[in-house]
Subunit: 279 residues, 2 copies
């Protein structure tokens, strides 16, 4: 299959590596010479180019672009994509992207692989990032179901699990499990770094270990992404922050009262729930 | 060296495995038969017993007990420990433990290895948990510095880095980098599990991936520990929650205003700070 990937960053590059391992002919588009050179060195696609015209040969195209470039896509991209190619994106917000692209292309399908780490750019993709990942496909009444079948089979061949969802519910769910953690982790880092007490901060900096590393990990990621999420999934994220604050306030109250039974229960409940999330 | 370890849970068991690899003669104390059987099977100490009297042979003793058992130690333990043995603990709170033990034993030194995971009990310890860990030794005017030298050399021989700190500053620092993350992670789990919207919760449960797993990890740990921390490091943890809420409220305000420049700056600042914490 001739497959196009527009953007060879963390997700685009990982898809490129995985599809080549499955013997597909992959056309990867980058936006400048330096990225082109590195993407070629890292073999992120069979052909790496800055020329959008190669997309005319592709029957399926992944738009692995930043959210803001998906919501305001450039004209040349829209004009070059063939009408009969299947198009999907990989962004962690679906509703506003689908609203844009369903009006631009008859075979657009919103999708979202649930994988990531704190790296970005053409040096970030790896062949195993997507292994065993869950990959959400969001359908609407306008979605072409024959195209969904083809995309879904391709995703499964990449050893990912396909999950179907409604776009708005997807955006609410990702706001809780994926976007909120970014602002929470970032808040934790700011909290742990006290400006007023340098002695305390010096010790905290020295002894922070695996617990802090894990809890703060997604606060060390791509700030452009965090900003785009806040702009385009604003309402859901604000709801998430409100709920999180309410839970923190409940802990605050319980700890203040020294209500050790209730505290133990709330901790134990979270522990049980966590195992449901990660089964 | 004859070394005693009272309690062969996650930390005690890991110390036991590590000290045996260094050819020390390790006496491990457990509190019941079933733990004794498993600890023997897992070879957590050279000798595993329920009999505190073996401590009389030990020149150095690790009290790897739950915080509440250190703050209210049982009489038999106090009476059995020899006056001329060096005693240390491994708990992540120092001030109240030191206040108790400095009055009970002339050679007590508060210490705290910065390592852990979500497991507990005699099945949890591993030989590599403490590898390259930072290990805080807290001294006070009463601390015997010859004993500190011996303990510190032993810790270094276990491939850990010794860091000296004042007990109260230690307790403030761990409240931020280690205790606060527990209540934060627990709050995130409760937030992501909406009771009102089952469809949303079902999707969130299905698609939660590595970001959620990492951010919530310490919320899946030992609830007894979380409760003890909240009881015995109450003031510092409450301060941490207050600061954290203020940071979340700043994000809330910035996102509400759609102030994308300020948002990017706050995310970028956290990212830079994080790399300082983990260097």
């Amino acid at each position: 299959m001739n497959i196009g990937i527009v953007g060879l960053g963390l997700i685009g590059g990982s898809i490129g590596l995985r599809l080549q391992a499955l013997k597909h002919n992959v056309f990867g588009i980058v936006n400048n010479e330096s990225n082109q050179k590195q993407a070629i060195e890292r073999k992120l696609a069979t052909h790496v180019t800055q020329d959008l015209n190669v997309l005319k040969k592709c029957s399926l195209i992944f738009l692995a672009l930043p959210i803001r470039d998906l919501i305001k896509p450039n004209k040349e991209l829209i004009e070059t994509i063939p009408e009969d190619s299947i198009i999907t994106d990989v962004a962690s917000i679906k509703d506003p992207i689908i609203k844009t692209w369903e009006n631009l292309h008859p075979l657009f399908i919103g999708s979202h692989p649930m994988a990531g780490n704190e790296h970005k750019g053409v040096n970030a993709g790896t062949v195993d990032l997507l292994e065993n990942a869950k990959w959400v496909i969001t359908t609407t009444p306008k979605t072409d179901m024959d195209s969904v079948k083809i995309l879904s089979n391709l995703i499964k061949s990449m050893k990912c699990e396909v999950i179907f969802a409604n776009p708005s519910i997807h955006d609410k769910a990702t706001s809780l499990i994926s976007h909120l953690p970014i602002f929470l982790a970032s808040s934790l880092i700011h909290t742990a770094h006290s400006k007023e007490d340098q002695v305390l901060t010096n010790l905290a900096l020295k002894i922070a270990s695996s617990g802090f590393a894990d809890t703060s990990r997604v606060g060390g990621g791509n700030s452009d992404l965090g900003r785009d999420l806040a702009e385009f999934n604003q309402k859901n994220i604000l709801n998430g922050i409100k709920k999180l604050k309410a839970n923190l306030e409940e802990f605050e109250e319980i700890i203040e009262e020294n209500n050790l039974l209730r505290l133990f229960d709330k901790l134990e409940k979270a522990k049980d729930l966590r195992s449901k999330f990660l089964n």
